[in-house]
């Protein structure tokens, strides 16, 4: 956004709420009967959701109707994005700025959307923590309460376990080159089947999201520290 724009009270509220969120979360901002996305989020959202990109004043904006929000949120999750949902938490009064709060942040590995969950499958969020050749792995399925952890030696074992449980989302320390290598290099030396990984966003793309992950069976892998994303197709 350009700095010389005089923010309306509502846009100031938006910027404040947005600034408190994880960088890679798209903010859905409740405005009457719509959830609106603004600024960069609007550009990303319009592209992923195939809705019209408009403007509120000079601010890029796109919106989805409140009553159909779940379907749209599902599409953002499928694309491997995190979505922060900001609701109006008091009744609107004329002439006053309504109070708004982020009521939940959902992500591919932590959502409860029945339409995307498969009854016969767990939906795992995973964390990888390498110490030397040892990989600490943790898997959580919030929908079932499953919480497992293990330690394995070497890339091949770590990949095997990740491939077996197929997390929908994976976090790893931002400075862990070992994990990046692991995810990039595939299963080399541990069998012919390469770990099918494609970068979702390269660091230079930043939040512009020019290579947004798409399609069925996509799994987001995000470094919590850097917002650096990977997508895992299995």
């Amino acid at each position: 956004m350009t700095s010389n724009v005089q923010l309306t009270p509502m846009m100031a509220q938006y910027r404040r709420i947005k600034s408190e969120l994880p960088k890679d979360a798209l903010l859905l901002f409740r405005l009457g009967d719509f959830y609106e996305l603004f600024f960069e989020d609007a550009q990303v959202g319009a592209q992923l959701l195939n809705v019209a990109l408009t403007k509120r004043g000079v601010v890029p904006m796109c919106g989805i109707p409140y009553h159909a929000a779940n379907a749209y949120i599902g599409r953002l999750l499928k694309a491997g994005r995190k979505v922060a949902i900001c609701d109006q938490v008091e009744d609107a009064r004329p002439g006053q700025l309504v109070k708004r709060e982020v009521t939940q942040i959902v992500s591919p590995g932590t959502h409860f959307d029945e339409r995307m969950l498969k009854a016969e499958r767990n939906n795992f969020l995973a964390a990888v923590h390498p110490i030397g050749r040892t990989f600490g792995l943790a898997f959580v399925d919030l929908t079932t309460g499953d919480f497992m952890t293990t330690e394995v030696e070497g890339d091949a074992e770590a990949l095997t376990e990740l491939q077996r449980l197929r997390p929908a989302e994976l976090i790893y320390p931002g400075d862990a080159a070992a994990v990046r290598e692991l995810l990039l290099g595939g299963i080399r030396g541990a069998g012919g089947e390469k770990m099918p990984l494609t970068p979702a966003r390269s660091p230079s793309d930043g939040e512009r999201g020019s290579h947004q992950p798409r399609g069925e069976g996509s799994h987001a892998i995000t470094s919590a520290a850097t917002g650096y994303g990977w997508i895992l197709r299995l």
């Binding site: 994880p22 964390a127 110490i131 919030l142 929908t143 309460g145």
Partner: protein
């Protein structure tokens, strides 16, 4: 958030414990780092409620049979290799007779992570046996389980705050089953006591004999296996907690068919809360007053078509049609004109409306509060219900194993720590169920210290690949505690199942068929042990014949002399059959084929001995290759086999085959042979 101190703190804080040793996490810095990061990410980053995570389990991969991704994929354990294949074309699909989603998820887990030690497998087997022996009990149990549905996710939703009154009703339905369900399990367990000793029960048939003579064997003194832990069935029964108070509370609080919304009322029963009843009485009284108003006003005005109605914009109003407008009393206040009449209100009507709407608003609010209170009560029992759900999921899988065993006459494999793999009349668990026309032809296998490598030759399409996959699947299945489709089996535990199957070009990833093959092969040769089971389906196909043959030859030698792993090797290189003469623990097998007027009939039976013909031309005929091409191919084949060179026959290297054979025969035995003698 991955830092050791932070992570340790996060995990300890979450579980409210002073030490993580009790979770098996002592000195597991890497695992704690990952677990702590997950918790931190969920709570701080995503601001989520993680009350649902009441426990954490640490597992060691070494407690399980190692299956790498290639094996899981190529053996089609969880899903078919090709996405357009029918859903049941996987081991999971064929065995999934579970009746709850929890059981289905557990089954996937058990199939992709089979056990690697004898005792736990036997405990599962005994339970399956018990179910198989008591079909009536098992059916009762499965019917009760089906009512439980997805207890885990119902609970998850309630815990996360996305749950609604329907989840509470579903929870009640599930919990209501528990007393009877526990009783059923106890009865099944009692019926089995005394005759669940695996040593004496290698297969189904023996069960009855043993039972009849078992009589007073209650304490299991005669059973070598009935020492330490109680049978799995009793243990699982003990983990199922009845929660009558919760059932009663939900039953009293929540209506039978609650709405989806929790903030619009209609979910709490009358009689549950006095304050709510009072508000509802007020509302009903008001509504009765309004209903009566219509009759009264009709009588007063004489307008038969007079209606008292409600909409969200005006609230309650009286509607009079155009033709009756002259009869409207003076105390009516006009509110709105519509196409065929007018709408009026009266002060009394508005007064009552205020009372009704006020009560309605307060009662929906109160209902939501009451819903939350019941939900809190449920969450107070979170850990107990989760443990119950876990036990039920396991009972469901064990029941599914028994159901498959019953439907398809599976046998209970004898397992142990020896080195044999013996299966009599084994069948492919997936194909068997998908064959509609023909009967699946069973086959035997025997691999042990003396017989380490089975080399299977035979024409394409004859069933080589099916056979070796079948052996791998049955071995895997035996490690899960399931029975297997065979007449009889002894399957000693293996540490890993390796597969090198199929050749799919992976152009998108820039790897050629041959490269993929060699990567997989390298993995096997580097990691297999004498306790591994290896399935090799064609090696060296992706390169020139001689390169491929040479590699295959030396790979087999290496497996025989260095690795010692039980191996099934299907190949089209007939030259490899020569190996039987030089490697004592290798034997040739082929797939029986009958020739009939230049046609071939596949008998699908694996028989001992080498084959020398590949029947390539006959297979080509089956595939519909034009006759002219087949005739010419036969001509060339004839020339090659006769080692004849015709001037215009374009076949100059015809004698090479024979020469090659002679050369192979002259090869010196590799020096390592002595090691194993």
């Amino acid at each position: 958030m991955f830092a050791p101190e932070t992570a340790l703190f996060s995990v300890r804080e979450h579980f409210k414990v002073a030490s993580l040793d009790g979770f098996g996490l002592k000195d597991r810095t890497a695992a704690i780092g990952a677990a702590g990061a997950v918790l931190h990410y969920l709570t701080q980053h995503l601001r989520r409620d993680v009350a649902n995570l009441t426990r954490i389990s640490f597992y060691r991969r070494s407690d399980y049979l190692a299956l790498d991704f290639t094996t899981l994929r190529h053996l089609e354990i969880l899903e078919p290799l090709h996405h357009d294949a029918p859903r049941n074309a996987s081991l999971y699909g064929a065995l999934n007779r579970t009746v709850t989603p929890m059981g289905a998820r557990r089954l996937r887990d058990w199939l992709s992570q089979p056990l690697a030690t004898v005792e736990p497998i036997r405990r599962r087997q005994m339970t399956v046996q018990t179910f198989v022996d008591n079909t009536a009990g098992m059916e009762a149990l499965r019917a009760q389980l089906a009512q439980v549905r997805d207890l885990e996710r119902t609970l998850g939703r309630l815990s996360a705050g996305t749950g609604n009154a329907r989840d509470l009703a579903a929870l009640r339905l599930a919990l209501e089953q528990l007393p009877a369900l526990k009783q059923t399990v106890r009865e099944i367990a009692a019926s089995a006591r005394g005759h669940s000793c695996p040593q004496q029960l290698p297969n189904l048939g023996a069960a009855q004999d043993h039972a009849s003579q078992a009589g007073p064997t209650r304490s299991g003194q005669e059973c070598p296996c009935a020492d330490a832990r109680p049978p799995l069935l009793e243990e699982l029964e003990g983990q199922v907690t009845e929660l009558p108070a919760l059932v009663e509370l939900i039953g009293r609080a929540i209506v039978d068919e609650p709405p989806l919304a929790v903030k619009e009322g209609g979910l709490i029963r009358d009689g549950f809360d006095p304050a709510l009843d009072e508000l509802r009485t007020a509302m009903r009284g008001g509504k009765d007053w309004i209903a009566k108003l219509q009759q009264d006003e009709i009588a007063r005005t004489g307008i038969q078509s007079l209606k008292v109605r409600f909409n969200s914009v005006f609230g309650y109003y009286i509607e009079i049609t155009k033709s009756n407008l002259d009869k409207v009393p003076t105390d009516y206040i006009r509110k709105q004109t519509i196409a065929n009449g007018e709408r009026f209100i009266t002060p009394d009507l508005k007064d009552m409306e205020g009372k009704i709407l006020g009560a309605e608003e307060r009662s929906t609010k109160l209902e939501y509060e009451l819903f939350q209170r019941v939900r809190e009560e449920v969450l107070g029992q979170l850990a107990a219900i989760q443990q119950t759900a876990t036990a039920l999921a396991q009972l469901d899988v064990l029941g599914a194993f028994a159901e498959a065993a019953r439907l398809y006459s599976y046998c209970r494999p004898e397992i142990g720590n020896g080195g044999s793999l013996f299966i009599r009349e084994g069948r492919h668990p997936v194909l068997e169920q998908n064959l509609s026309e023909e009967r699946f032809v069973p086959n035997d296998v025997r691999l042990d210290g003396e017989m380490q490598i089975a080399l299977i030759t035979g024409p394409n399409m004859a069933g080589k690949s099916t056979y070796i996959r079948q052996v791998a699947l049955l071995a895997l299945l035996a490690h899960t505690g399931s029975f297997i489709p065979a007449a009889e089996a002894r399957i000693d535990l293996v540490d890993r199942i390796f597969t090198r199957i199929g050749a799919s070009d992976d152009l998108t990833r820039g790897q050629s068929t041959f490269m993929v093959e060699m990567c997989e092969t390298a993995n096997i040769l580097n990691n297999a042990t004498a306790r591994s089971l290896i399935i090799l389906d064609e090696i060296g196909r992706g390169t020139s014949t001689f390169d491929g043959l040479s590699l295959a030859w030396s790979i087999v030698e290496h497996l025989h002399n260095q690795v010692g792993a039980k191996t099934l090797f299907a190949t089209h290189y007939h030259e490899l059959t020569e190996l039987a003469a030089r490697l004592p623990r290798l034997k040739n097998f082929n797939v029986a084929v009958r020739e009939w007027h230049e046609q071939i009939v596949f008998l699908r039976k694996i028989v001992e001995g080498a084959t020398d013909k590949s029947y390539g031309i006959q297979v080509a005929r089956l595939a519909g290759v034009p006759k002219g091409v087949l005739e010419r191919a036969k001509e060339i084949l004839g020339n090659l086999e006769e080692s004849e060179l015709t001037p215009e026959g374009n076949v100059r290297q015809a004698t090479r085959r024979q020469q090659d054979r002679d050369k192979l025969k002259q090869l010196a035995p590799p020096p390592q042979m002595d090691l194993f003698g």
